[in-house]
Amino acid sequence: MDLVLLFVQGLNGLQFGVMLFLMAAGMTLVFGVMDLLNLAHGSLYMLGAYLAATLQVHTGSFPIALALAVPATVLIGMALEATLLCRLYDRDHLDHATMTFALILFFNELVRIIWGPQARFMGLPDQLSGHVEILPGVTYPVYRLLIIGVGLLVAGFLYWLIMRTRLGMLIRAGASNREMVNALGVNIKLLYTLLFGLGAALAGLAGMMAGPILSIEAGMGEPILILTLVVIVIGGIGSVRGAFLASLLVGVADTFGRVLLPPALASMVIYILMAAVLFWRPQGLFPSHG
């Protein structure tokens, strides 16, 4: 593999990692702070993609579709938390898994009823559908560069939110000791709803960013959900910093595994990585629990 190809594959790995980060950041916060195992996180991703595609058809505008799809996904997520998921907090993880797995099946059939069994299309405006020359003679799709940019911006925003704001302080406190935050009289119910909304926003954003690249169809959330779980296990549950680094690690490892190794081994690379982390650092690379 020559240097140019190495560089392009590095960018591909970064782009894939950034995509995973958008999913993993929300899920790790919900899992770490609220202690809620939400397998339906992938369904919010799918809804984000479907909503953006539908809004694009009706408004004819890519930016408007993006601007409306995220708040819509947040509303769905918050409604879900306030009506169903809030009943799970004092139950164990098996109940979480059962309930949220049921939600996966429910949402997959729901989109099939609303949008039909055929995959949907989401186009790109002309400015974003081309390529740019990143090195002499090497082009890269503009849209994939945009994904990298958006992902890094979101990472920066989350860093600011968690390290520099009062809400972030509560989130950090919640991640390291939930009972104590509760005992100190913080409105934990509101905090949870807001946090779940944030997770839904990130999942919806990931889904609609994926819309123009991927087939928008029922069940599109599951493959990425599994990778997301791998990322948060590697990164350490509840840690956004861990999720960021683990996402990039998984993205790059998966990309290079796919091009350098035979297919059977390539599909195992990230799971081997996860097993290794679990063996030497069972709490993940950057655990947030004290």
Partner: protein, 396 residues
């Protein structure tokens, strides 16, 4: 007066069209047909498409098959062979079906073929055509109305061989159907295989593989990516700017009328092979395409055409027996005649009860309504039979 004449003529025409595509027989007792396919989960769109086609066939036969009223029982195999067996057993023992049809995936077909046919029930595959059942394991009560799995890939191998392409880069998902597809392609393509890349099934993103492909810079690319994988691959191939540089060839499993709306212009101009296309010119096909479009507000795919032909085949067989299913030998003989007007044009069964049929070269174009659609540009095979029939011990 003039208007009345026209309306009378139109009625006469529609009646004769009805006579042309469907049988009319004396009243018979009810026929029970079981339809088994993957109707939920990510693989559900094919099962739905085939069922829509099958129902369109039923409708064109006046909701009868061979003149007998029909009870259609739909079952979901959930893409799991063992569930398929359960559903089939329930249909045979509880619902007492006479015929089972549908079957999208080859692994489900492999699991249910023997239990169903051993029970004396006729199985009409509207999609899956795995090689073991075409060769040594051929079954007297199994009729496959679609194709043998390899045939469509063989057609593209033949086309690129005839075109004089020297080297091809191959890609497919790493599972049985992917490997079979590329094997079928290589059976007729004798040039250099630049690379044979297998990707993880249901892999959403192909950026890494596409970067490798670009640097290999082959003369042509052939891929097999069905369903959502195909949508992802075709879009990303165009977005990577490869479409104008390295010609991409595939089959109607990847590029067909069911997924073209989701691919958009990324699919425009892609050459693929198929046993059927909406533009095949015969009265049965014109009627099928027009009615499907007006009923479902979307173009029929080759899968819907398979479902339609399954209904027509069953209709023709039951017509010959007067709607009776009791005498198995008589019904089998009627099935073997395949005395129906297939939407694909010429159709007959080989000795292994898989089709002998033509395969076309198609190109994706935009029609006058700006819809993406396949258009035939040539013929890859005339009366093509599959590679496994010789091994089938069945005698007619």
């Amino acid at each position: 007066m003039h208007q009345r004449m026209v309306s009378l003529a139109a009625k006469g025409l529609s009646v004769s069209l009805f006579l042309l595509v469907c049988g009319v027989a004396s009243a018979a007792e009810k026929v029970k047909v079981g339809y088994i396919a993957t109707m939920s989960g990510p693989g559900a769109s094919l099962g739905t498409d085939i069922l829509d086609g099958f129902k369109m066939g039923l409708k064109h036969c006046g909701d009868k098959l061979g003149g007998a009223p029909v009870e259609l029982i739909v079952g979901d195999d959930q893409f799991k062979p063992e569930v398929g067996v359960q559903v089939a057993t329930r249909m045979i023992e509880k619902d007492k079906v006479d015929i089972i049809t549908g079957i999208v995936f080859s692994n489900v077909m492999m699991a249910i073929a023997r239990p169903v046919t051993d029970a004396g029930i006729f199985l009409v595959s509207a999609n899956a055509g795995p090689s073991p059942l075409a060769g040594e394991g051929c079954l007297p009560n199994l009729f496959t109305v679609s194709w043998q799995n390899d045939q469509t890939h063989e057609a593209m191998g033949k086309y690129l061989q005839d075109k004089g392409i020297k080297g091809v880069y191959l890609m497919a998902p790493n599972y049985q159907a992917g490997k079979d597809g590329l094997e079928g392609f290589k059976r007729y393509f004798k040039g250099e295989i630049r690379a044979e890349v297998y990707t993880e099934p249901n892999q959403p993103d192909y950026a890494a593989e596409l970067a490798q492909l670009r640097s290999a810079n082959p003369e042509a690319v052939f891929v097999f990516y069905p369903g959502g994988m195909g949508v992802n691959f075709i879009k990303q191939y165009a977005q990577a700017g490869l479409k104008d540089k390295i010609p991409l060839y595939t089959t109607a499993f990847t590029v067909n009328e069911a997924v073209l709306p989701a691919m958009g212009d990324a699919a425009l101009g892609i050459v693929n092979t198929s046993f059927w296309s909406p533009d095949i010119d015969n009265p049965a096909n014109s009627k099928f395409v027009a009615d499907f479009l007006s009923t479902h507000k979307r173009l029929p795919s080759p899968f819907a055409a398979q479902g339609y032909d399954a209904a027509m085949l069953i209709d023709s067989a039951l017509l010959a027996t007067g709607g009776q299913t009791g005498d198995k030998d008589r019904l089998r003989a009627a099935f073997r005649k395949a005395d129906f007007q297939s939407v694909r044009g010429s159709f007959k069964f080989n000795r292994n009860q898989f089709p002998i049929q033509d395969f076309y070269i198609r190109e994706v174009i935009k029609d006058q309504d700006h819809q993406l659609i396949g258009r035939i540009t040539g013929v890859a095979f005339k009366d093509h039979s599959d590679a496994y029939c010789e091994k089938c011990p069945m005698k007619w």
